[in-house]
Symmetry: C2
Subunit: 592 residues, 2 copies
């Protein structure tokens, strides 16, 4: 529960004491606002006097107090800066500086960043970039050390390989803030030495060990906690929320799955109080959603709209988060704490009129006071499509026939195994009319061949989509019916140095380059939001699938092999929980 | 928010995971109890499986689970072990081992000990002894580093001198857990380099900086927080509680001032929720009270009897305390946490039927499983009455007369200055009929003379009381009207190597030796409780003063010079907040 070094400067503290006692002017005085107190849950009129990055005094309104600078907060409600307890900058496809510019004016002053995607593409160079890019921003971006690089060793190949030693070394740095989201649930539960060693590195570091407890129940959930994992954001519903609260997890309620929030809010309301272990996170936000709905402010807004008392939503985003991440300087407006403040013109709508971070007015009326300087992107991150050009032929699956029995992937998001008997023509499986192809090929220089699977219950496709964003190894992943369309989209992404592309009738209709690690663009958010929305609309026009908002999540997550159920990775059809790896989907050939 | 090293053993964690998943037996299974969940606030039937010191699983009752040992908790409610967030073992006048034996069977499994009294008598040797004596007990006794040795430098002389360097050096040890109760409020607020340096040492250590914010309000209270002090237990009432909650202090509601608790409980009930910054502490407990009413369990019981919901009282004593002291392993019954559990046969009466600490059954039905081994007391602590014999003459105050105007101390507990015109006879002040004498002399080898003051509104005394327990410098302090009685009592204490004595009519009526630093006896608690109660009764018979339960607090605290108001110390009549030091109470001589 220690205070960061910058607040422990004796001169700073001495100046704050003098100002608190009225013996010296404040550096900045915020006058006339109404404070929403996260400890007592009450509101009161209070002036807030700052000295440097510190709050020196929170006192009853007193116009006679002296200050070098004054800000009027009349008619506004003041809350602590919001803390996003778990997120991936990469999901917004913009740089950390652009992310900060997007969320700070909305009141987000701290975010715990798991640069998991960057690390899976470029290994330690990704974490190097993350730590460098996190510095000097108006947003307190706190990098965690990715623990799942790759997220399913032996079942996929990524561009990095973080052993327990790698994780321990990075956790030893003062600019990392914990072991990030451990997704390798099954190996941990089964005592896999690599994954256990990574958790141990986290425990030994004295920093937090964050988790991802998707679908864990009963003895597996208890085992995950007993291993030392502290947090989860992978809730599936009210019963899962209660089970995880009871198992002692710090809950990171996330905005990226808004359909669950009404049910989760109702479960909390039934408890009659907000557990102090409930925090909020964004996890993943697409650029158009970020531009339209914001970052953690959007999660607060959603929860209030679901009926959660505003106090609870703000408390989860501030005091609860600060306590759980071990930062006593944050999350509370009180003397001796860090001056991260949001002046709200509308509490329920979460409308920030002004934002103060580290004692400085960093944003007003939705605009940053000064744009943050982005650090240059190292060359390593700009050359990550390390694979040969793709041919249509690569998406074909060989068989003798005349028929073959194959394993299929049935349903997006939460896939289950299926089986089909399909025709074989010219030594290749014939794709049934109701199915699509998915292809995935390593883009990290492994040189392994394209793996292709047939998917069912994946809608009606009239084109192809290719992406270098493909959780969690971010290999080049392609969906469609027609191999020519698929190759066109895939080659467009390859040529762009990474990105997303849509093709139909042999032609590329839309391509969004993401040249930084194949995940991020240096273009500003408004442009990214527009281009991403346009590409999404183009794809929506080529397929019929409900509900449409899930399309991108399904596509980017189709190779998320660490979760339960079968998936296609660059190594083949795999199921981590069963230890399955099938290089080809053909189970039985020569039938018919 | 790190886990202590003993819980980070990879084999331990691996065993816990296997047991949680039903792949191996638990070491100990607590079956059939009802769990009061500190996170959700709900109760549920749950079995608790332990592996070593860890909780491996908390699951729905399942008699088929395998375990090496089983404990039935049928009909009992299970809560986490209680955490006493601030206490002084010395106040109970027994050794740490005997203190542990007294409170562990009552459910107290952790206590943060400020060995302030020992340090003020024997300096670093006291802290050495505290750290050694705290080890190997069934009670997790966590020593803090005293910050006020002496508590009012320049206004009293104690047996130790802790500079910022001393404090920093001790905070660097892994067996100290924070900077203890900073009582030197005024010097800190005024920027005194020694006290500011001590707070800095605390902040730099990354450990907690605990406080004592007696009577601070407004800018002084804000300044105290702005300086970096985190906690307070010196509440004076509901308004003070609210002001300190609003100022962000961690509140340690204490049992040593029970008359305040109804008012404090009512204020919390009005809030409608228990702030997560509220914890509980005992601070000081006399031996007879400890034997009769217990330790932190007694505070929980008192708060429940004051109308606080039992959940709130237990949560303050467990989860809230664990969060605030930065110990995520404590305060919650969940997998991955430390197995400190209390099986209650009566929730409202706080009746512990069995206590488990670090996964071991340490007490049952009020008895320890095995008595803790006390460490030997070093010789330094056994020879602390370093002063010459006292003569009756020492309590006389010289003046010429025929009359003199003198400064008096008016009222015990919260003294104010008084003034009197008194007669002078034979070169000495004549004690008015309604007043008593107080004498105090350094017992740490300073060789300074006895200081004597006249007190008014201190009741009607027919004997004398002497004590080597005298906050905070623990100089030999004597009260009475008759100098012969006072000398008899003082010399009895001196001869006993420290302790308490009552004398009347020139004869010592009762003496309780406290040969360890003049504060503690190695006698067991039942004997100490009996002897202390007997001495107290003897004294009660010699004076008339209401309410009687305050007598001892008033006597032991009469020299607490760090607080507001005038006091008598071994240097004279002093008032820290005003910078006053009067060697003699005579303001004007030769009157009349």
């Amino acid at each position: 529960m220690s205070f960061p070094a910058d607040l422990n400067d004796p001169d700073l503290r001495a100046r704050a004491v003098r100002a608190a006692r009225g013996e010296a002017p404040f550096d900045l005085l915020i006058e006339g606002g109404e404070l929403l107190d996260m400890v007592t849950g009450r509101t009161r009129h209070a002036d807030i006097g700052l000295i440097g990055p510190l709050i020196a005094s929170v006192h009853a309104p007193d116009p006679s107090r002296d200050a070098a600078q004054r800000i009027s907060a009349h008619g506004q409600t003041i809350v602590p800066g919001f803390i996003d307890s778990h997120m991936h900058v990469e999901s917004s496809m913009i740089t950390p500086a652009d992310y900060a510019a997007a969320v700070v004016p909305r009141g987000v002053t701290t975010a715990l960043w798991d640069p998991h995607e960057l690390a899976n593409v470029v290994g330690e160079a990704g974490l190097d970039y993350a730590c460098a890019a996190a510095k000097g921003l108006p947003l307190r971006l706190l990098p965690l050390v990715p623990t799942c690089v790759p997220s399913a060793p032996g079942f996929e190949a990524s561009g990095g390989d973080f052993t327990p030693d790698t994780v321990a070394r990075w956790l030893g740095r003062s600019d990392t803030h914990g072991a990030a989201e451990l997704m390798t649930m099954q190996p941990l539960l089964e005592g896999d030495p690599r994954v256990s060693g990574i958790v141990q590195a986290g425990l030994q570091s004295g920093k937090r060990v964050c988790g991802h407890a998707r679908g864990l129940t009963g003895g597996d959930l208890a085992g995950f906690a007993a291993a030392g994992v502290e947090t989860d954001h992978e809730l599936t519903g009210a019963a899962d929320l209660m089970a995880k609260l009871e198992a002692g997890f710090t809950i990171e309620l996330r905005g990226s799955h808004p359909h669950l929030l009404p049910e989760l809010a109702e479960a909390l309301l039934e408890l009659g109080e907000l557990p102090q272990t409930v925090t909020l996170c964004t996890d993943d936000i697409f650029p158009d959603d970020l531009a339209a709905k914001g970052g953690l402010d959007g999660v607060i807004r959603l929860l209030i709209s679901c009926g959660l008392p505003p106090l609870w939503a703000y408390r989860a985003a501030t005091l609860n988060a600060a306590s759980r991440i071990g930062r006593p300087d944050l999350g509370l407006i009180a003397p001796g704490r860090r001056a991260d403040l949001v002046l709200l013109s509308d509490v329920e709508a979460v409308t920030a009129r002004a934002v103060i971070a580290d004692g400085r007015l960093v944003a007003e009326r939705g605009e940053l006071a000064e744009p943050p300087a982005a650090v240059p992107v190292p060359a390593t991150l700009a050359q990550t499509m390390r694979l040969d050009p793709i041919a249509a032929e690569d998406f074909e699956i060989s068989a003798h026939g005349p028929q073959a029995r194959i394993a299929t992937l049935s349903k997006p998001r939460f896939p289950v195994w299926g089986e089909r008997r399909v025709e074989v023509a010219n030594g290749r499986l014939v794709l049934p009319d109701d199915m699509i192809r998915m292809g995935i090929v390593n883009r990290h220089g492994a040189g392994t061949p394209m793996r292709t699977a047939f998917l069912e219950n994946w809608g009606d496709w009239r084109g192809a989509f290719a992406s270098s964003v493909s959780h969690d190894s971010h290999n080049l992943t392609v969906f469609g019916r027609n191999p020519e369309d698929m190759a066109a989209a895939a080659n467009a992404v390859r040529a762009a140095g990474g990105g997303l592309a849509v093709a139909a009738k042999g032609r590329v209709l839309s391509c969004l380059p993401l040249p930084v690690a194949g995940l991020i663009s240096e273009a500003p958010l408004p442009q990214m939001a527009r281009d991403f929305a346009a590409l999404r609309a183009t794809l929506d026009g080529l397929l019929t699938w409900e509900p449409p908002y899930l399309v991108f999540k399904a596509l980017f997550g189709a190779s998320l092999v660490c979760n339960a159920g079968p998936r296609l990775s660059d190594l083949g059809l795999v199921e981590v929980f069963e230890g399955t790896v099938l290089e080809s989907c053909v189970l039985e050939d020569g039938l018919g």
